[in-house]
């Protein structure tokens, strides 16, 4: 099938508002796309070809997504793209318009001739967008029609990433477009093995795991949101301990508040870093209990380092920080690949009242401490 010609590679510039790159290239505005690799012609007009190699910018972008600075604004224009020199018999792979999802897919297609159909998921990855419904049968149907896919390929197979099945209903897509959805492997790097096995994914390829490297990659985004609260907490603690009749005394703020701040840091570490990292090795299935346990260990360790702490702040710390670690660990349920909504609701139903109670009790202890001390301040 010689209907596709490719132009020589060049740098393509399109605007963020590009409604699908199979549109008119001259109407596109100026943002550099280093991963663009020329154009291929199709029966529905020119289609942008994309590179299957990651450049330094792609690696850097991926890193910034993991640390949070790019996470919510890392998008590619939805529409149809080409890998290699696809023809009317080439496979179609569907992805989200979160650039990290798109990057993993194009890298997984290295050496193949294929079409890539990017859905508008508002810059959210496949699995999460599928959960919200933006990666769904309606958007897929719309996108198949708007790109004129039926005129570009002569077959009716479309390969959707398996995790997209949360939002895509294969029978609805078939009823709406005639295309048969084949669910591909969970990971784009298994695509070639999937094709070699005649479009069958092994159980291995279909199962979502949660290895330590993935858990580690997710911890910066556990710690980052906590830090904002942490700073407010530190300031409040220092003011509270420094406060006396003559105003705020810095020496006292640090001698009294310092250990409490240290313990708070340990609680963040145990809840947002150690618990996620050592998840399968920390006892209990409940994330709240896991966090409570690591938090208790961290707090006891911390208290042994600060033997000069007064009794009331000691007791308050022992009540508050394990609970704080537990609460923070519970947040990690949002990042895991295996926790369900009913279970998390159950944990919150039991946990939230206890968190509130422990905060209240420790606050009362601190106020008592201050009241007793006030006379001698």
């Amino acid at each position: 099938m010689e209907k596709n010609k490719t132009s020589k590679p060049m740098t393509i510039q399109i605007g963020p508002a590009g409604k699908g790159v199979s549109g008119n290239p001259s109407a596109l505005k100026f943002t550099q796309l280093p991963w663009a690799d020329g154009w291929v012609s199709s029966d529905s007009g020119p289609v942008m070809r994309i590179s299957t190699k990651w450049t330094r910018a792609d690696y850097f972008g991926a890193l910034r997504c993991r640390t949070g600075s790019l996470r919510n604004n890392y998008k590619v224009a939805p529409g149809l793209y080409a890998v290699g020199s696809p023809n009317s018999d080439s496979d179609i792979f569907v992805s989200a318009n979160y650039k990290l999802s798109f990057d993993y897919l194009r890298r997984g297609l290295d050496g193949l001739n294929a079409w890539v159909l990017v859905l508008d998921t508002k810059g959210i990855n496949v699995w999460c967008a599928a959960g919200k419904g933006t990666f769904g049968a309606a958007e897929l149907t719309r996108r198949i029609k708007s790109t004129g896919l039926a005129g570009i390929v002569g077959h009716k197979r479309i390969i959707v990433p398996q995790l997209g099945a949360v939002g895509v209903s294969a029978h609805d897509v078939r009823n709406g477009t005639g295309f048969m959805v084949h669910y591909g492997p969970v990971l784009a790097r298994d695509i070639k093995a999937f094709i070699a096995a005649r479009y069958r994914a092994s159980d291995e390829m279909r199962t979502v795991r949660f290895p330590i490297i993935d858990r580690l990659a997710l911890t910066p985004m556990e710690i980052r949101p906590v830090m904002r609260h942490f700073l407010i907490f530190v300031l409040s603690v220092l003011v509270f301990f420094g406060l006396g009749r003559e105003g705020i005394i810095f020496g006292r703020a640090f001698s009294g508040g310092g250990p409490v701040v240290g313990l708070a840091g340990l609680a963040v570490l145990s809840g947002a870093f150690l618990t996620p990292l050592f998840l399968p090795f920390v006892p209990f299935r409940s994330f709240a209990l896991k966090g409570l346990l690591t938090g208790l260990a961290a707090t006891l360790l911390g208290l042994s380092v600060f033997p000069e702490m007064d009794a009331y702040p000691r007791a308050a710390s022992l009540i508050f920080f394990p609970a704080a670690s537990s609460y923070i660990a519970l947040q990690f349920t949002g990042s895991t690949t295996f926790t369900g909504m009913t279970g998390v609701k159950k944990e919150l139903k039991i946990g939230l009242p206890l968190y509130i109670a422990s905060s209240a009790v420790s606050l009362i202890l601190l106020v008592l401490h201050k009241t007793i001390k006030w006379g001698s301040l």
């Binding site: 508002k122 810059g123 949360v166 949101p225 994330f287 519970l330 909504m341 279970g343 919150l348």
Partner: protein, 102 residues
């Protein structure tokens, strides 16, 4: 790794099953297993309630109360009185980094 035991809301009506096997294909945790021309639930506690099986069952034989298993999202839902929803679908407002989900 498995989450809490005995909480998953997954239910399956074997009489409606045609044995097409879509559920075994889309489940990320191998909860379903083929058995004698139909499927059976082999690992209920492995279910994370993502809903992929129910959405892809043309016969409607599967139902599950699906949603995000994310504490921040559920707390969000409690506060707003709506469905559990994470803040990460805001389009670049930067607000969403208060939520860790997705």
């Amino acid at each position: 790794m498995k989450y809490l035991i005995g909480v998953a809301t997954l239910s399956y009506d074997e009489s409606a099953c045609t044995g097409c096997g879509r559920c075994t294909e889309v489940c990320p945790h191998r909860v379903f297993e083929r058995q004698g021309g139909k499927v059976r639930i082999a690992d209920l506690d492995g279910c994370m309630e993502c809903g992929a099986c129910a959405r892809n069952c043309a016969e409607g034989a599967i139902s599950v109360d699906s949603g995000v298993g994310c504490a921040a999202a559920i707390i969000n839902g409690m506060i707003t009185g709506g469905e559990p929803a994470c803040g990460c679908d805001s389009t670049g407002s930067g607000e969403s980094d208060s939520s860790t989900c997705c």
